[in-house]
């Protein structure tokens, strides 16, 4: 199965959800800020170059886990992504597109804007981590629901 976690820039919420999915972050306790910061591609990439998809790894069931940054108009970019995948070897039933923005908080939005758009990394990055930790339970629930689908 192909699991794609999507968000605005593909650098905060989707990376966190994918990190939990791949076992890079714990599910029973809240991780340390350093664990979130050490996630691959966390808070990387420019907000001015949105629209990318990359593979983060493979989970314990053999599912490929990806992150995608879809930009502000997700309905359009998601349609474009689905059209490409419709022409690929991926069967529609083997595709799981997850909106990781359902777990976003104001602080992650603000932090992401400051870090990626304004280049104020020293302030934006800690705000993102703080916002993610504040809603960490939501991320764990989201990933557990996705994993339940992947297992079946």
């Amino acid at each position: 199965m192909e699991v794609i976690y999507c968000c605005y820039a593909g650098s905060h919420t989707s990376v966190t959800a994918a990190g939990i999915h791949l076992g890079l972050l714990p599910t029973t306790v809240r991780p340390l800020p350093s664990e979130i910061l050490s996630l691959p591609n966390f808070d990387q990439g420019s907000a001015r170059r949105l629209g990318h998809v990359r593979k983060l790894g493979e989970d314990e069931y053999g599912n490929n886990v990806y992150v995608a940054g879809l930009g502000p108009n997700r309905a359009v970019t998601l349609t474009a992504l689905r059209l490409v995948l419709a022409g690929s070897h991926v069967k529609p039933d083997d595709l799981c597109i997850v909106d990781a923005l359902s777990c976003i908080s104001f602080w992650v939005r603000l932090g992401g804007f400051l870090s990626r758009r304004c280049g104020c990394v020293w302030l934006g990055r800690p705000l993102c981590v703080w916002g993610i930790l504040a809603r960490y339970g939501c991320f764990v629930r989201l990933v557990s629901e996705v994993k339940a689908i992947c297992r079946t």
């Binding site: 629209g51 502000p72 108009n73 359009v76 970019t77 349609t79 490409v84 022409g87 991926v90």
Partner: protein, 123 residues
Amino acid sequence: MATTRTLLVHSGAGVAALIVGLRHLGDEAVCTHLPKLWPAVSRPGRFICLSQEGNRVICLNSGGSGDIAQRLTEAAGVLWHVTHFSPLYVKEGMFCRLRFWLYLRFPAQKWLLGFELSQRSGS
């Protein structure tokens, strides 16, 4: 796995995408078909599949996210090895939506779509 060559052509208002999708037809035929097909792509995210000389052409209205959609489809094509799929972002002239709205009311004024029609050969 689909093997038909597919071209995903998209533009900000969907007009230029449709014109490229109908590029195998002459100007007259394009101008005749446009008003009938445009409702299918009138809003961002909507698309229509056309057949063009044995190939499949998907015309998508990408709204203001044309650049993002282009990068995303190119990246996805590489990642999932979709070799028979080519995305193409066609830029539209100024006030394309307004010009097309006027064209729908005055179909004889084909010059209103002059810029988009002239792009067909280069696309």
